[in-house]
Symmetry: C2
Subunit: 294 residues, 2 copies
């Protein structure tokens, strides 16, 4: 064992103690880890299986070997504890990192992942936004082309942090993010679906950038088919956004949220969109199948 010492904000830390460990964690050092934000509603985690499947699949891509049963038991214990404190709705976030150790960027041969569960209250007036829709803004900050990391909900999130710093008012509830090649990828914290000028429903291809969201997969695999509305995954140019007929964002916390107005990079209004009939139908079908998103 090599020597190790550390301090946090000027105070020496006993790293043999619980959570002092986090100081040496590869999640903090390099963002070598993943997370899931899971809706807690009526004491349940309605999309738990999908979250676990994504987490375990993506962990492999980052060289993190996790035991799904262990992760699930930590989550279930945590939710039981919350319920014992009469906490039954909000957001349960799980962070799984590569764990503690390694020399520089190299992971050690034997390493145990760190699993952090945390709870916080719902982030926004979701009911109002679900009813009235939200305003979004184009972000200047571009998402880089990185096929090796595209789709993964990893801990390297400076792109989202910097994009979210572009405004500090309450005028916009989310921002649309584009690639260097001026293609729509996602919003800062959700995936995007829209009905183009020709009447086709589309959602951006995420092969070179973006996060492949759990709610996006629910919509693609269950909700669009149940509504008998065709939808395609494809590369989408920025110009198509300004011409769309309907537009919504979705994630596993907010469900489906219509976009009622779009502002460009210069904060100029590009488009006002009444909440469309098909957007309403998709939202209702989601609630019918998953009443927790009511």
């Amino acid at each position: 064992m090599s020597q190790y010492y550390s301090s946090l904000n000027g105070q020496l830390i006993d790293t043999t103690k619980h959570s002092g460990d986090l100081l040496q964690d590869r999640g903090l050092a390099y963002g070598h880890g993943l997370f899931e934000s899971i809706l807690l509603a009526k004491g349940e985690l309605p999309l738990l299986v999908r979250h676990l499947v994504r987490l375990c699949g993506d962990a492999q891509k980052l060289g993190i070997s996790i035991q799904p049963a262990l992760i699930e038991s930590y989550l279930n214990q945590f939710v039981e504890y919350l319920k014992s404190e009469a906490v039954i709705s909000g957001v349960v976030k799980i962070v799984v990192t590569a764990g503690v150790g390694g020399r520089g960027y190299q992971s050690p041969q034997l390493i145990e992942p760190s699993v952090i569960c945390s709870y916080s209250t719902l982030p926004e007036p979701i009911a109002v936004h679900r009813r009235d829709g939200i305003a979004v803004r184009y972000c200047y900050h571009r998402l880089p082309h990185q096929p090796a990391l595209a789709g993964i909900k990893h801990l390297n999130r400076l792109d989202q942090v910097l994009a979210r710093r572009e405004w500090d008012c309450a005028d916009y509830q989310d921002g649309l993010m584009f690639s260097d090649a001026d293609q729509l990828i996602e919003s800062i914290s959700a995936n995007v679906f829209f009905k183009n000028a020709a009447g086709d429903w589309l959602t951006p291809c995420l092969k070179v950038a973006g996060v492949s969201g759990v709610m996006r997969s629910v919509l693609l695999e269950e909700i669009f088919p149940a509504c008998q509305i065709p939808v395609q995954v494809q590369v989408i140019d920025i110009d198509e956004v300004a011409q769309c007929q309907q537009l919504f964002v979705c994630n596993s916390i907010r469900g489906l949220m219509a976009i009622n107005s779009v502002y460009n990079f210069k904060n100029r209004l590009v488009k006002i969109l009444p909440v469309g009939q098909q957007t309403l139908m998709l939202g209702e079908k989601l609630v019918e199948k998953y009443p927790h998103y009511q």
Copy 2:
């Protein structure tokens, strides 16, 4: 205040306690932070001023407001403590994160950065590598084009982690990293300089990717001029690497290390390089100016 609960590896954590805080830190959640790896030699941090200047400059770009004097005092206290434990050489790493808080990607208005100092022993047989040079390998994993983050030593380091996972033997001591456009950017943990076929010394331009290293700036601003060897920063094509006459990597821990052999993506030997006269001269000048790199 919203409610907050958390667990680490199945154990509930009292987040009011010291370092329980790290569970909610933006450094862990998003990689919203920076780090410096600083050489500790004979109880001193020889390049401290350059490290602090870079850290403070880059912090601004990430919206992290830090007080240089406070950071310096934490570092000095930490080094004094190490000396009191008879620890006088190794690596002192400082991590500065945006701190604890915020709703999702949005930083709160008021937030105190977290400052972590840690010590570890030197990572490798540096003396042998400095004398004999090292072997490097081309990495498959490409660095993304991201001008907004290029140059910054931030905590989003999955690219380096994934590149370092490409080999697990002791045959290579570092890997050369390229952009999507097949341009040489840096090595996994250092900057690169080389003498091309025409006899010109070059180092890659870091405007779209890469970390602008402290030792790189020492070489560009002090060591090359002191040796009266011209050097240029420019865009460098992958093909130029295979034709170079001399090649070395540098960082603030290892100093300057000649590369004696280069392997390609398929682990095939591309080039054997005897340690060149000018590489030796640059290394000697570095030690003359900064004897801690002896």
